[in-house]
């Protein structure tokens, strides 16, 4: 096993592209190291990206935010601007693991681990976040939902690294929220989760919406029909009920050690409804 700590993106990409055998990228290590200690994987090459300049920073640009691949979730929690504009994304990032884990883990790692139950991913999908990818062929940007393709699988090609997550500046009267269900109060994995991102007009009518669900299908679901249930309406009881029904119907869950099909369907609707109510209030809706 070879461990390297490159100082530039180009070097990291070159090392990954030129490697033979299995390679893994190390940021916080909260998934990778646990899997290695558990004996599940034994990579031939580990590329630690934390020493690369700028990767540990949250940058504010004219277009919005660029969250570097080595930014810990705890650091996101400390960003006043990010909390103000994307509270749903931040609350999702800050639900991962425990305080100690949050000091290490990153949302890029969470995305690339490609678990259907990842906490930050539904919030990022609802927020229409994009992943900035660098690889041997240069840079490209894709919607985050295009990254995971199934449990443990991503669309990243050999040598590619996600450099940052990009979030847009907020339109006025916008709000997002994320909720997950776990049997405990913390230190747990989502059984079901829902992210909702809304922008309202001046009358409090939903102008645009994105609704996502986690842990109910092989990848996080972006439920367009659920968004349609909200668009053009205030968040009245009928809209919320329709939202819950659509979300329950959109689930393609499995029975497993964490929950049953029936439970996940029902709770997906409940959480979507509750997250929508919070997002609506955050957007200034009454």
């Amino acid at each position: 096993m070879r461990y390297i700590r490159p100082l530039s993106m180009e070097d990291a990409v070159g090392q990954l592209a030129g490697s033979s055998g299995t390679a893994a990228i190390l940021a916080g290590g909260s998934d990778l190291l646990v899997r290695m200690k558990g004996g599940f994987i034994e990579p031939d090459l580990i590329v630690d990206i934390k020493a690369i300049d700028g990767l540990g920073e949250i940058r504010e640009t004219a277009e919005g935010f660029s969250i570097g691949a080595a930014v810990s979730c705890a650091l996101m929690g400390e960003s006043v601007a990010l909390n103000r504009e994307w509270p749903g994304v931040v609350e999702a990032a800050k639900l991962i693991g425990s305080k100690q884990v949050q000091g290490r883990c990153t949302i890029v790692g969470n995305l690339c681990n490609a678990s259907p139950a990842a906490d930050s991913v539904p919030a990022l999908v609802a927020a229409a976040a994009r992943a900035l990818i660098i690889g041997p062929g240069g840079r490209r940007t894709v919607p985050v939902e295009a990254v995971p393709t199934g449990p443990g699988k991503t669309s990243l090609a050999k040598g590619e690294i996600i450099e940052a997550i990009l979030l847009d500046r907020r339109a006025p009267r916008s709000g997002d929220a994320y909720l997950r269900f776990i049997p405990r109060t913390e230190m747990d994995i989502a059984v079901v989760s829902a992210g909702v991102n809304l922008t309202l007009d001046e009358q409090g009518v939903v102008k645009s919406a994105r609704v996502s669900l986690g842990a109910v299908a092989p990848t996080v679901l972006l439920v367009e029909e659920a968004a349609e249930a909200l668009i053009g309406r205030k968040l009245d009881e009928a809209a919320l009920e329709r939202l819950a029904k659509v979300c329950s119907g959109a689930c393609r869950p499995i029975d497993d050690k964490r929950g049953t099909v029936e439970f996940r369907r029902k709770v997906a609707g409940v959480l979507a409804r509750r997250a929508a109510t919070t997002a609506y209030a955050r957007a200034g809706g009454k």
């Binding site: 558990g38 004996g39 269900f181 049997p183 405990r184 109060t185 913390e186 230190m187 747990d188 994995i189 059984v191 497993d256 050690k257 964490r258 929950g259 049953t260 029936e262 439970f263 029902k266 709770v267 409940v270």
Partner: protein, 754 residues
């Protein structure tokens, strides 16, 4: 020597105070040595190969490739642990559980082990061992295993305890029955009868420290074992017997213990580590991973219980009956029998009958877990008691008070009770402010009672007085909950000296006589009795030495507040001699001063508790939250009240986890799905409220200070108390533990739909 263990009322100087424990600083600074903290020069790393199948015949094991791997120093299979059990069936089961002999009986059953120079080599070697399995049909559910169509785990098992010996083998190893009176007659007198069926899933003790040991066998056949255990003397007996050694040739030293709760009363890894060391000729360290801890050690029984209770309109129970089916893993046990004995122990009953069935399943061998078997029986009985009170229209506390056992009551399992605490704990609960606190929307309150026998057993203690007057106390019961502090308090009390003058240690097996293990809530009960006896023997020596120093008859010397005093007017000018002064002169008056004690601590007083809890249920998700929790329990006499409270809180916390989320989940293939703390959900800090405690002291007549064991009873009521609270909050009776959110939501939806 003529030690009188009977209780007599007295006042205390040290007992009942709350000093810092002697092991505290080391534990919070990380200096304390746990099982995996022992190391020896030249030590090898041991690893165990485990069956991936729930049930399979082992046709052949080929270890030749593993043996050839550079760095591998020993590979063993069952062939290296020959059967020396000489017809002792229980020991044979332990041997077979340590290393499968003919069949792998559960996912995780050990089949081979290696010792290598490092962990990487040992892990590689495991992959090179070829096991040829013939996979057999399996059964993991307790009810399924009782069916005639179920695969039989052991064709030499014919149910014991039935009138006619069965003609066919089955998975039911034994039927047991307890009770008195005539239940049919009793039910005929009842105005109300409640009959319910309940299930509880299998849980693990969930100790944070995995099993760990270092074994070192010398070429002369003697050996040392450092190990995390609840009973190093028992481990010595078992290991010596399984390896064909004389007990005195094996010295076992117990480490600090990061939780045991009954799960560290069995040997699993220790005989394997010794066999590896014997073969390799070097010390071997064997530490289980968390995955191994779940798959191969621990768990408690999964159960299926039917309860029927009848009562008159006035609230008097006329008859009570229960059938209890407990899983034992693949080896015979007496788990259902313990459930059958404890089920109705809280109540005064004229007509009672309980029947237990011990059932074999393809799961790990059931081990004791804190008041083993009682929590599940209490869950079933106390749930039915609540239902019955509701049908009659009585307050659940009043109903229980009316039927509570008293001094002189013949218990449902046989003996007649002496002074007991069930009535007082119920009265205390009834008057507790918690009972009157208001409840909000979706919130419910539940209460329940619990019983545990407690145990005494063989105990040996040495008390040595140094020449500087400080006292060393060597005990043989492993300290699992602060007993070194408690026993130091007891020694200080008897000798009349300060707590700080006493230092208690747990001695190794070569330094002290045999002690039973720390189970049955016996640690402080039995070792305090032995410490009192040892201290009184030391006082006798101290008086003799003082008499010698003064040249007066020993009968004229008494011991008061840490001093020898010559009684009588003629000695008026003799100043009292302190323990320190007598100790300083000991070299000239006959040598070292010590007191020893060897006894069987009979008369462990039974223990009762009543718990109250408030739960909020989210009716849309089935999520539960424990809002408030109160434990009321009889301690007899709380030697160190802080550690008594700790036992009350610990049992309640474990019970909360068991009631709400903890369970072994098996897939159809018989493999355990959640062998880790991520998906085996013990409560985290934020899941629990502060658990309030109230200590009652109803003296045990068979202990000089009135002490009763306190460690186990606290886990008996929680399953039932929480089930009653959830049922009240959700408006539907919960009959399946754990009450995980999917189960609660399904029950709510079914109630709505129905």
């Amino acid at each position: 020597m003529n030690f009188d263990p009977r209780y007599s009322s007295r006042s205390f100087a040290s007992v009942g105070t709350r000093p810092i424990r002697p092991d505290g600083v080391d534990k919070v600074t990380g200096r304390a040595r746990y099982g995996a903290d022992f190391n020896m020069a030249g030590q090898l790393v041991g690893r165990v190969l485990r069956s991936p199948h729930a049930h399979a015949t082992i046709r052949k094991i080929d270890t030749s490739k593993a043996e050839k791997l550079p760095g591998v120093k020993a590979v063993i299979t069952a062939a290296d642990l020959p059967d020396l059990t000489d017809g002792d069936a229980a020991m044979y089961d332990i041997l077979d559980n340590c290393m499968a002999r003919k069949k792998a009986l559960y996912d995780g059953h050990a089949v081979a082990a290696v010792a290598a120079v490092d962990a990487r080599t040992a892990t590689q070697a495991l992959k090179l061992i070829e096991v040829d399995y013939e996979v057999l049909p399996h059964v993991t559910d307790v009810d399924e295993a009782m069916k005639h169509s179920a695969p039989v785990l052991n064709d030499s098992i014919f149910t014991e305890g039935v009138e006619e010996k069965p003609t066919k083998p089955s998975n039911v190893t034994k039927r047991s029955q307890y009770g008195h009176g005539d239940v049919r007659e009793g039910f005929a007198q009842a105005d109300y009868v409640v009959e319910r069926s309940f299930k509880t899933e299998q849980t693990h003790q969930g100790y944070i420290e995995p099993h760990a040991c270092v074994a070192s066998v010398s070429s002369d056949g003697t050996a040392d074992l450092w190990v995390c255990t609840q009973g190093h003397f028992v481990y010595r007996q078992h290991c010596a017997q399984l390896l064909g050694m004389e007990a005195s040739k094996l010295r076992v030293t117990s480490s600090e213990i990061g939780g045991g709760f009954g799960g560290k009363t069995h040997v699993w890894a220790e005989p394997v580590a010794l066999a590896l060391s014997r073969k390799a000729g070097r010390p071997v360290k064997l530490v289980m991973t968390r995955d191994e801890v779940f798959r191969a050690s621990g768990p408690t029984s999964a159960t299926s219980i039917d309860v029927k209770i009848g009562a008159r309109k006035d609230g008097t129970i006329t008859a009570a009956e229960a059938t209890l089916r407990y899983s034992c893993g693949p080896y015979a046990g007496m788990w259902a029998e313990l459930g059958a004995m404890t089920a109705f122990a809280c109540y005064k009953l004229d007509n009672v009958k309980t029947v237990g069935y011990e059932v074999l399943v393809n799961r790990p061998k059931t081990a004791a877990y804190r008041a083993p078997s009682a929590p599940m029986a209490a869950f079933a009985v106390e749930s039915a008691v609540d239902e019955l009170a509701k049908e009659i229209g009585m307050d659940p506390v009043e109903f229980r008070i009316r039927n509570a056992a008293q001094e002189g009551t013949r218990s449902s399992y046989g003996p007649v009770y002496g002074p007991i605490g069930i009535g007082p704990t119920l009265e205390a609960a009834k008057n507790h402010p918690h009972m009157k606190a208001p409840l909000g929307k979706n919130q419910g309150r539940g209460m329940a009672c619990g019983f545990w026998f407690n145990f005494g057993g063989q105990t040996c203690t040495d008390l040595n007085i140094g020449m500087d007057g400080s006292v060393s106390l060597a005990v043989g019961t492993v300290d699992v909950g602060g007993s070194r502090a408690s026993l130091s308090l007891v020694a200080a009390e008897e000798l009349g000296i300060a707590y700080e003058q006493v230092k208690a240690v747990v001695a190794d097996t070569s330094s002290l006589g045999y002690n039973d293990m720390t189970d049955g809530s016996r640690g402080t009960f039995s070792s305090s009795m032995a410490t009192i006896s040892a201290a009184r023997n030391a006082i006798k020596v101290l008086r003799e030495r003082a008499a010698q120093m003064w040249d007066v008859p020993v009968d004229d010397v008494v011991w008061e507040k840490g001093h020898a005093i010559a009684k009588g007017e003629k000695y008026g000018n003799l100043a009292a001699l302190s323990l320190k002064e007598i100790a300083a002169a000991s070299g000239k008056t006959g040598g070292p001063i010590a007191g020893h004690s060897e006894l069987v601590a009979d008369g462990a007083g039974v223990s009762f508790a009543t718990h109250i809890c408030d739960i909020e249920v989210d009716p849309e998700t089935g999520a539960t939250r424990v809002l408030r929790y109160t434990v009321v329990q009889d301690a007899g006499k709380a030697v160190h009240p802080t550690y008594v409270e700790g036992q009350y809180q610990g049992g309640a916390a474990q019970g909360i986890g068991w009631a709400l989320n903890e369970e072994y989940i098996y897939a159809k293939d018989g493999r355990l799905q959640n062998a880790g703390f991520l998906d085996y959900r013990i409560p985290v800090c934020s899941d629990l409220p502060m658990i309030d405690t109230q200590i009652l002291e109803i003296p045990n007549p068979n202990h000089p200070y009135g002490v009763r064991g306190v460690g186990e009873t606290s886990i008996v009521p929680p399953l039932a108390a929480i089930a009653n609270a959830v049922s009240n909050a959700a408006g539907v009776r919960m009959t399946h533990i754990p009450m995980s959110p999917p189960r609660v939501l399904a029950a709510i939806e079914a109630e709505r739909g129905g």
